[in-house]
Amino acid sequence: MRRFSSFRDFDWMLLTMVLLTSVISVLEIRSATLQTKFHGFGEKQIGFLLVGIALMFLISFIDYHALVDIAPWAYGIGLLSLVAVAVVGTKVMGARRWISLGGGVHFQPSEWVKLILILAIARYFWGLAGRPLTWMDIAKAFAMVGVPMLLVLKQPDLGTALTYFPVLVAGLFLGGIRPRQVAILTLAFAVLAGGAWMSGKRPKPYQMARLTSFVNPDNDPRGSGYQIRQSLIAVGSGGLWGKGTNQGTQTQGDFLPIPYTDFIFAAFCEEHGFVGGMGILLLYFLILTRLIQNAQQASDMPGAFIVMGVVAVILFQIVVNIGMVVGLLPVTGIPLPLMSYGGSSILFTFLALGIVMNIRMRRFVN
């Protein structure tokens, strides 16, 4: 097993596209925070990016098989860290998501755990070695993902918890779940949900309002309805070509809420229009396609699983975030990969990409 691979194999194409997206992100964050008190977020994002890129290079040198090996340990530590957050985490706006490490550095375990989960699921399904999935296997997979999901849900952080789900789905799908099993699962879920509804364990009215406000923003005019409304206005009024860099009236006038994270795509669309938005979609498409290509060329099953896990998470986040911005899905606090401001998201993404690079670089290794 070769430990080193040639630089040629490093996926420069992928890196270019990722960097391009990152640059756009920095510029957009800067524009979105121009008029607000969040000055310097653009610069901070650059800092995160640099760290992320550095980590990406670092991790690409570690043979991913080693990571797969320690996956069980990592999983355990991950669970512990989630518990730690629940106990000693800093409470911000009613949620405990971070552990303060002093010196203004915050550590958000839920993002790391996502990465670990990808590795763990990959290892688990690889361990099943392609045999048909039994119900026991499926149950174990659910548990493996479900436990951290619940821990994160309790923080509460619905958005991040949701992003664990695609990992499970990708694993099940690639692991060979049969259509009949899928049908039974869906039915079971429907029955459970219906049962919960009947027994009165349904979402609170404000939560219901949040969920339905993407259909009718006036359901929740002050909260998520307002956010959706403003997002639609920002995106729609951008038209074909947009209003120009830093010229987005909704963004600059502080009408678009949190324009540098959740609604960064809306800010971008206001400034660069349909054309700009399609450009970003194109970039994402190319990145995802490239990733899937890497999965196809991966030398072994765990490699492929890991890459597809990454693809699933990234695709899920893209669809949920942009879907929210254009009013197709409810508001969830899920960041747009590579675009939204935020260290944790950047770090996860670049680490994940680093592992993918890793896998790609070793595809010819036997």
């Binding site: 008029q35 090996d69 069980p72 999983y75 763990a120 290892r123 688990y124 690889w126 361990g127 070695a129 392609g130 493996m144 990708a170 799908f173 690639l174 002050r222 403003q230 639609l232 206005i233 920002a234 995106v235 729609g236 009024s237 951008g238 038209g239 074909l240 009236t249 909704q250 006038g253 502080d254 009408f255 669309c269 229009g273 349909f274 938005g277 399609m278 979609l281 994402y284 498409f285 995802l288 396609t289 899937i292 999965a295 196809q296 991966a298 030398s299 072994d300 099953m301 492929a304 699983f305 597809m308 693809v311 695709l315 893209i318 669809v319 942009i322 879907g323 254009v326 009013g327 197709l328």
Partner: protein, 641 residues
């Protein structure tokens, strides 16, 4: 989660993930991204225009800048109507967190009925949400304090400095000036108000109504850009408010004061006019109302009080009260009789009345032998009954309409009445019956179906005294108006206008001397008690019975059946400089009730005239031999030749 055993490791490593599944995921990616693209298309291509409007609505505020209304002055530039600063309260719908829930609190704090607020909101339902809704004007200090104190709970309330109308107190010149109010729903639907918006203030009567287009300015607006917190972040543009034009009326404040005082406590009307030009010098109608009550929101109680008052305070009686003119009509009869060459040689024996067509028509006195020169000052009914019989109704009607009866004069005030001048044609048209000769008799003394307004009589009699030159009465100087406005006004208020009636100079002298004689002492002269020392005061009294004259002259009854007291006076007798018509409803004798009031006004006018001439003379010529004008000298040209 067990560690895979190494042999399986090596084995499993060779297995790959199904290529088909990877392809499937690839397709999934394409489909999902396409759905997102479709979502973007829906917003940015299909809905772009709509969202642009919303984006602007978010951030643009249109703040109204109200234009002050033009002030109104008297002919010497003394202010009659002014504006005063006041504060109005507006509602900004989109700032409200929960508008419906806030309404009770707003209603309490601003002392408004809840339904009124609801109605206002409904009225603006179709306008953009960022438009302000006027809630209450002229708010008190307490209400202002309430708004300030509730800035946080009620961010939807906003105040604006404003200009409101300040009218003279106690209804001074109220009918002439008129009042303003908010344009009503029905008005907005008519073409006349095509350019008005809800909440606009318009003139509702008097000069405020006629000249509303001049007096009202054009509201401006200040467009500002705000951020999501409603804070102004930049100007967008502004349209300056164009203040309304000031208006100078023809009335003389001094004469108006005298007239208002003279008419105090009476019901009726007084109008003073300059016959040379038709300029109105004073205009009073009683009872009056307080237009300041209309300028702020009118209370229901005040409105019902004046609407239900049987003496009609809202009516401008100088131009709207139509009554039988009584003996003032005899001047017109004299004109007809002289121009038809009937009266010159007519001598009538008055024995307290005469019989015509089987009825006895009474006269107040036994005048003995009466000719035209005495008929006027004595106001002998018998003479005029006879004259009426000789002329016939249609001849009388001819002269009466020539001097403006039964038509509007064309004064530039709204709702002028026409009065009635009967004739055979008139009777056929209105009552589908023929005119009976017997009906003509009472018309001869201004009774029967004939009616006139004070302004008509003032114009008619002074026109006759001016040699037949009649002018259109007006309250604003036409050459101070833009040309198209002046002609528009003339078209809106049609009437007999300026005209000349041919009068033979001899007849003219006879009539005017007769009217002058009325005011001099001696014999049966009816106006003698009111003569003015040193002024060539001429006029005609009138005592218009409300019941059939044949009951008896001296029995005037009392209360609401009492006769209307008329007087039309002028000075000097020929080409007069001023004519004053006074009507005191149920005042009894014209000589006692109305004539003295007119005399006060004429006296004031002449005194003022002489004072100004006196000043001019003293300044111009320091020579002591220059004779100072003596109070006994007749005013202006005296004989008017």
């Amino acid at each position: 989660m067990s560690t895979a055993p190494h042999p399986e490791w090596h084995l499993a490593r060779d297995e790959k993930v199904s290529a088909a599944k990877l392809h499937a995921i690839q397709y999934l990616v394409v489909i999902l991204l396409a759905v997102l693209a479709a979502g973007m298309w829906r917003l940015q291509i299909l809905g772009a225009d709509g969202y642009r409007v919303l984006a602007d609505a978010n951030r643009i505020r249109k703040l109204p800048v109200l234009a002050p209304r033009g002030k109104i002055f008297d002919r010497e530039g003394r202010i009659l109507v002014d504006n005063y600063p006041s504060v109005s309260c507006f509602l900004l719908r989109e700032q409200a967190k929960d508008l419906q829930a806030d309404i009770p609190l707003i209603a309490r704090g601003l002392d408004l009925p809840v339904e009124q607020i609801q109605t206002s909101i409904r009225r603006y339902a179709s306008s953009p949400k960022y438009e302000w809704i006027p809630l209450k004007q002229d708010i008190t200090q307490d209400e202002q304090a309430f708004i300030e104190a509730h800035r946080n709970e009620l961010p939807e309330l906003e105040t604006q400095d404003d200009q409101r109308r300040l009218y003279p107190r106690d209804g001074f010149a109220a009918h002439l000036i008129g009042y303003v109010g908010e344009v009503s729903e029905e008005d907005l639907n008519s073409s006349k108000f095509a350019f008005y918006e809800p909440g606009d203030v318009v003139g509702k009567s008097g000069v405020e109504e006629t000249y509303d287009a001049i007096l009202r300015g054009t509201d401006g607006s200040r467009d500002v850009i705000v951020n999501s917190h409603g804070k102004e972040v930049g100007p967008l543009g502004q349209q300056l408010a164009i203040p309304g034009h000031d208006l100078r009326l023809t009335v003389d404040l001094d004469l108006q004061r005298v007239a208002e005082q003279a008419m105090e406590g009476k019901n009726g009307a007084l109008v003073a006019m300059d016959p040379h030009t038709g300029e109105i010098l004073a205009m009073v109608s009683r009872p009056t109302f307080d237009p300041n009550q209309f300028a702020v929101r009118l209370t229901k109680s005040y409105w019902s009080q004046i609407v239900n008052d049987p003496n009609h305070p809202l009516m401008n009686k100088t131009i709207q009260a139509q009554y039988a003119p009584g003996s003032t009509f005899k001047i017109i009869m004299s004109l007809a009789g002289l121009e038809e060459s009937v009266a010159q040689d007519m001598h009538v024996m008055c024995n307290g009345g005469a019989t015509f067509y089987g009825h006895f028509f009474a006269c107040d006195h036994h005048h003995g032998m009466v000719d035209i020169d005495h008929a006027i000052p004595w106001s002998c009914d018998t003479y005029y009954y006879t004259l009426a019989e000789r002329l016939g109704i249609d001849t009388i009607a001819k002269y009466a309409t020539e001097v403006g009866l039964s038509q509007k004069t064309g004064i530039d005030l709204p709702d002028e009445a026409t009065g009635i001048m009967p004739s055979t044609a008139w009777k056929m048209k209105t009552q589908h019956d023929k005119w009976y000769a017997g009906e003509t008799i009472s018309v001869g003394i201004g009774q029967g179906p004939v009616t006139a307004t004070p302004i008509q009589l003032a114009r008619a009699l002074s026109g006759i005294a001016s040699g037949g030159v009649l002018k259109r009465p007006h309250v604003v100087f036409p050459d101070e108006l833009p040309t198209d406005m002046a002609s528009a006004i003339a078209a809106t208020y049609p009437g007999s206008g300026d005209r000349t009636v041919p009068i033979t100079p001899d007849n003219w002298e006879t009539i005017t001397d007769g009217m002058a004689q009325t005011m001099l002492p001696g014999g049966f002269d009816t106006g003698a008690a009111v003569r003015l020392e040193g002024i060539d005061f001429a006029g005609k009294t009138g005592t218009a019975q409300l019941v059939n004259h044949s009951i008896g002259g001296n029995n005037l009854l009392t209360g609401n059946a009492r006769a209307n007291a008329w007087f039309v006076g002028m000075a000097p007798r020929r080409n007069p400089d001023i004519v004053v018509a006074v009507l005191v409803e149920h005042g009894g004798w014209g000589a006692t009730a109305s004539a003295p009031l007119a005399a006060q006004v004429i006296n004031a006018f002449v005194t003022k005239q002489r004072k100004s001439e006196g000043n001019l003379l003293q300044v111009a010529a320091p020579k002591p031999q220059q004779p100072k004008p003596v109070p006994a000298a007749p005013v202006s040209t005296g004989t008017g030749e």
